[in-house]
Amino acid sequence: MAFNRQQIEEGVIEVLEEALGVDAEEAKPQATLTGDLGAESIDFLDIQFRMEKKFSTPDKPFKIEQGELFPENLLQDATMVVNGKLTDTGMALLKQKLPHIDFSNFEGDRTVKKLSEVFTVKSLCDFLERRLAK
């Protein structure tokens, strides 16, 4: 069974209600997971697990690989971050690894501390739409 955009958006909102205890009205497309919805780092793993379960079907189990949805350990690499800002190499790698993320608001400043703001409700839906179509 394939999921259309509406089913994906409804599923993501249910996942965020369960994982973060937020109301459906709060989970607007542009809401950031950490800033607006109060997610902490461990919630990202919980969200990943809940999305896998929600979008698995008996004939097509859904598994998200580590680092596929959120960046993994990139930011500890000295070639990726200098003085708290993402380097050109880091920016390029991040874009390559996370094609579902819109970096347009982040790219001008590149302060690593602000990176979490790129993860929005919409970015989760975009990721799922792309990934579930494979």
């Binding site: 369960e18 994982a19 780092s41 461990i42 919630d43 990202f44 793993l45 919980d46 990943q48 697990f49 809940r50 896998e52 379960k53 598994k63 580590q66 959120f70 960046p71 993994e72 350990n73 930011l75 500890q76």
Partner: protein, 170 residues
Amino acid sequence: MRWMWIDSVLSYEPGRRMVAVKNVSLAEEYLHDHFPDQPIMPASLMVEGMAQTAGILVGSCRDFREKVILAKIGSFTLHSDVVPGQCIRYTALIERLDEAGASTTGTIERLDHTIGQWETIGTSEIVFSHIDQNRSGNIFPEENFVFGENFRTLLRGVGLDKAMTAASKG
């Protein structure tokens, strides 16, 4: 005092399910204060019992090589008290497992010996992290400090102590 909030593992299905029990006795000191005239098993220690059951199950999935840390209690509901003389049964199930960690669900049951029946009194959703695989890139000690010597006796009953011994030898 050993920080063990389950008494024995009753059954174990690798990668899927673990069942453990805790007998609640009036001889246990914490019940003298919780509460002086009305001893009740603290819910917080039942969370710990469930987390130990589920945590051992998660650890066993990778032969105790991962350091399994309780990361998040998604939910924990209890709708009845447990008092001395009763027994608690924790059933933990693996929901998802990968390199970064695992999510589990659980059922908490109570045995009242005067009735002789198990009764479901709660549920849990607990997420565990494999901290060596965590996202922050921190380094932790080599030895597996999570699954220490205390757990060995507990795991012997279901044959898991050998896996723990092998893991501790690296």
